[in-house]
């Protein structure tokens, strides 16, 4: 990304003046077929990516939601590099909803798929470079000297021969009157001072002193607070509502049925909760009234007996399985999982006859805005959505049906006042939109040397993509890409291969859960390859390595993790080591986990060595923290996480029965980053997939117990150890 870029080729720059003095820079990437709408001239100002004020303020307008993954730091760093400013002086502003802020590939404003740095790098670098060039030209004009004699540095332009200096703020007005440059020169890797450095997060101070504004913290004049009595079974409908007792609860203002259930609007959250308790609702429970996890597993097993839609195939897997010297069969099952972000879902909406304001921590602004327009009947321009900090997202705040925004808009419209809808933790855990459960049937045939000749993987899993705006691109021939990703494209060189898929019946609402399909396919693929290695009597690291000749980046991180973890070196007594490697979201991650297990069957993970190849990167400290975060998130699922059903009802409800790992369970995580010039990959999600198989493989190495069902609960560990 270095050297001179002709802007007209990929993007066009728009520049202008800030009201009250200053320079603004917008970059519009011509978007794919999905959109291609250029915002009209008058809407340009709010569509800027960079604003330099006469007061020397530098504001980067970020079109991605900050949910912990660090976009409010990494994206401004890209601008700072080209603009020649210290990233610490940059202010960040959340972008409003406008086409200019759409995801460069998906035609709508959305944060997800670990794509933010990958898709925004170019246009933000161009915005920074264009501003620097214009400020430099403005200074040269002021001094009547050649621009080549001037250099931008640390928020100032310097005239080198004379040492004269002007700050960006002083130059911003003059720069805003210049024509935007036709091409900009981006720095090469050797000239970079900001990119690649562990710059401190820009949002840390506000998150340490409690002032960072999250959605749940919003309060607007006249606002009421609501909770929703939600159906006990997915798809249930309220048949009869007895509201008189609830209405008598002091502070309760209104009981209002909406799509999501029955809204209880009150003066305070405690009043709303009391009102909800006093509400008597008779539900028509609908077709999922009998939903039961054990029975669902039987249904999936039955489906898996028949061939599914083929997602990938090469050679003749069936014939090779028959001819193989040794055949290995296994079934892997994984449960539904809730995202459980620490900040429960919420949204504030204020619907007026002439407009609607929304304050929300969301990953999908455009869809949410459009949903509000539909409910209110207002034109889209009359809906103003402000993106707040997200107290965790993990995919849960990217909902294609905008349900948590819709309920606030419906309640505010119904009552004619601003309303904040709050989900309790129980609402969250019961509330669906889970990582789908899956049933995986594996078979492999080994040759006499123990190397795989054939590998088949049949997946039964609900589809996430069906019914979303992404159906067109990600649902093909009955195959949901997110159900087979990481399985159908396994890097292991096996001459006869098949991955097929049965779409399980819809019903339970399912959603992308940090790392999506990879969250289960990595566990299956990396556990099963481990099984093959042990069956062949080979070292699991070397066995994988031998099958990765055509995938140097996968092999590279595997080697790096093995080396840093001291693979093969003796461990203290009672410890076992396991390895796993997985590619997702354009990045390659290998992890080595060191575990022990106590007499109760409780697994303790002591140390995780993590090797990352995400190509060119912005901030190594954010990569390290995202690896720690991915390990923690994946470990909660590996050791504890399961949403199960009985009589149609979710059996878990809060952190006591849907635990997430605590401080004493958190392993030491060491991150090693491969340095290369490859295309940037994602970093928010790829740390999750390898940890569960690394731990399960370590448990096998330690105890000989192979667990093929998550989570690795003490009961399952004890049972497997008793057997094995």
């Amino acid at each position: 990304m270095s050297g001179s870029t002709a802007i007209s080729r990929r993007a066009f720059l728009k520049t202008g003046a800030v009201l009250g003095g200053g320079l603004i820079i917008g970059v519009h990437l011509p978007l794919g077929a999905a959109l291609g709408v250029q915002p009209p001239e008058e809407t340009f100002a709010p569509n800027a990516f960079l604003r330099i004020g006469s007061d020397n303020s530098i504001t980067v307008i970020v079109n991605k939601s900050e949910m912990g993954q660090g976009v409010y730091t990494a994206l401004p760093m890209i601008v700072a590099e080209e603009l020649e400013v210290d990233p610490a002086v940059i202010r960040v502003e959340a972008a409003p909803v406008a086409p200019a802020y759409n995801h460069a590939l998906w035609g709508m404003q959305v944060t997800g798929g670990s794509t933010s740095v990958r898709t925004e790098w170019e246009r933000l670098a161009q915005a920074g470079a264009a501003a620097r060039q214009m400020l430099t030209a403005a200074a040269a004009g002021t001094w009547q000297v050649k621009p080549a004699e001037c250099r931008a540095e640390n928020g100032q332009v310097i005239h080198l021969p004379t040492g004269r200096r002007l700050s960006y703020g002083r130059l911003a007005d003059a720069a805003s009157r210049l024509q935007p440059p036709k091409s900009v020169t981006l720095k090469g890797p050797k000239e970079q001072k900001v990119i690649g450095r562990g710059v401190k997060r820009l949002d840390t101070p506000a998150k340490v002193n409690g002032t960072a504004p999250f959605g749940l913290d919003v309060a607007v004049p006249g606002m009421l607070t609501a909770v929703v009595a939600r159906p006990p079974v997915f798809g249930a409908r309220a048949k009869r509502i007895r509201e008189d007792l609830a209405e008598k609860v002091p502070g309760v203002k209104r009981i209002l049925p909406i799509d999501a259930g029955v809204g209880v609007v009150a003066e305070s959250l405690p009043a709303a909760l009391k009102g909800r308790e006093a509400l008597e609702i008779e539900w028509d429970e609908g077709p999922l009234a009998g939903l039961d996890s054990a029975r669902q597993r039987e249904t999936y097993a039955e489906m898996a007996k028949k061939p599914g839609a083929v997602a990938a195939s090469r050679g003749n897997a069936d014939a090779a399985l028959e001819k193989a010297a040794k055949r290995i069969d296994a079934v892997y099952t994984l449960p539904y999982l809730a995202h459980a972000p620490m900040e429960p879902l919420n949204c504030v909406a204020s619907v007026r006859p002439d407009g609607c304001d929304i304050w929300v921590g969301t990953q999908m602004q455009t869809g949410d805005r459009d949903a509000a327009a539909k409910i209110t009947g207002l034109p889209k321009e009359k809906i103003s959505l402000r993106t707040m900090f997200l107290g965790g997202g993990f995919g849960r705040r990217a909902v294609p049906d905008s349900h948590f925004v819709r309920e606030a808009v419906q309640l505010s419209k119904g009552i004619g006042k601003p309303v904040k809808v709050v989900w309790t933790r129980e609402d969250d855990i019961h509330g669906g939109w889970y990582r789908p459960s899956s049933y995986n049937v594996l078979a492999a045939g080994l040759d006499r040397a123990g190397m795989p000749l054939a590998w088949t993987h049949r997946i039964v899993c609900q589809s996430i993509i069906t019914g979303t705006p992404f159906e067109g691109g990600m649902l093909k021939n009955g195959i949901d890409e997110t159900s087979v990703e990481g399985a159908a494209d396994s890097p292991y060189e096996v001459p006869n291969f098949r991955c097929d898929y049965h779409m399980a019946p819809a019903g339970v609402p399912v959603l992308w859960w940090r790392s999506v399909g990879h969250s289960f396919t990595a566990f299956v693929k990396e556990s099963f390859i481990d099984e093959l290695a042990h069956a062949a009597g080979h070292d699991p690291y070397r066995y994988r390595r031998a099958l990765l000749a055509k995938h140097p980046r996968v092999a590279g991180v595997l080697d790096l993790a093995a080396e840093k973890a001291g693979w093969g070196k003796p461990l203290p007594a009672g410890r076992g080591r396991g390895i796993a490697v997985h590619e997702s979201f354009g990045s390659f991650i290998a992890q080595v986990a060191e575990v022990s297990v106590n007499g109760e069957g409780e697994i303790r993970v002591h140390r995780v060595v993590c090797a990352v190849d995400c190509g060119r990167f912005v901030n190594p400290e954010i990569i390290a923290s995202q690896m720690e975060s991915g390990v923690a998130f994946g470990l909660s699922a590996a050791l504890h996480g399961a949403i199960t059903f009985a009589n149609g009802r979710v059996q878990q409800s809060n952190f006591y029965d849907y635990p997430i790992i605590r401080m004493r369970e958190m392993p030491e995580v060491e991150t090693h980053i491969a340095r290369n010039g490859e295309k940037p990959g994602g970093i928010g999600e790829p740390g999750v997939p390898p940890i569960a198989p690394a731990v399960a493989n370590a448990l096998f190495a330690l105890t000989g117990a192979r667990l093929r069902t998550l989570p690795l609960t003490p009961e399952r560990v004890r049972e497997a150890m008793g057997k094995g």
Partner: protein, 154 residues
């Protein structure tokens, strides 16, 4: 009317006595640094100090703090070693759990100025972080313990 002090300032609220302190702090007093995560004393996001001790405000009825002194995240000085250490270690990710973590850490250091890992685990394992910032929290507590000046609550 129930009266108590929050961050040194006298407050009087007119709410049912069983109202959880958390919602009085957030909704009536308007200090939103104290967070809600579970409402059942399971996550620690709502941790505040009652006369210097860490408590879970989501399960503390406001009547129980009548005449007492509450400190929230907003009442911890910006130059407090714990806040400084949190910034130095760049602890937060999403940030939601962090006020509770900081309140638990300041109470711990007030009681035990040089906690070892085990003491930190004991004091902090009740405060959940979905983003997995635990290792940095532990480092930050060690760093704060090593700083000059006051380690405890003001």
């Amino acid at each position: 009317m129930i009266s108590f002090t929050v961050n040194g300032k006298r407050q009087q609220v007119n709410v049912p006595p069983d109202t959880p302190l958390l919602w009085v702090i957030r909704e009536q007093i308007g200090l939103t640094g104290t967070k809600f995560g579970c409402g059942k004393s399971l996550c620690g996001a709502c941790t505040v100090h009652l006369d210097g001790r860490a408590i879970r405000s989501c399960v503390t009825p406001v009547s129980a703090v009548a005449g007492k002194s509450i400190t929230t995240i907003e009442g911890i000085p910006e130059d407090h070693p714990v806040k400084q250490a949190w910034i130095a270690e760049d602890v937060p990710q999403c940030g939601w759990c962090q006020p509770g973590q900081i309140m638990a850490a300041t109470a711990l250091l007030a009681e035990n100025p040089k906690p070892d890992d085990a003491a930190i685990d004991d004091a902090m394992s009740g405060i959940l972080c979905r983003c997995g910032t635990y290792r940095r929290i532990r480092k930050a507590i060690h760093r704060a313990a090593g700083m000059k000046g006051k380690g405890g609550t003001p």
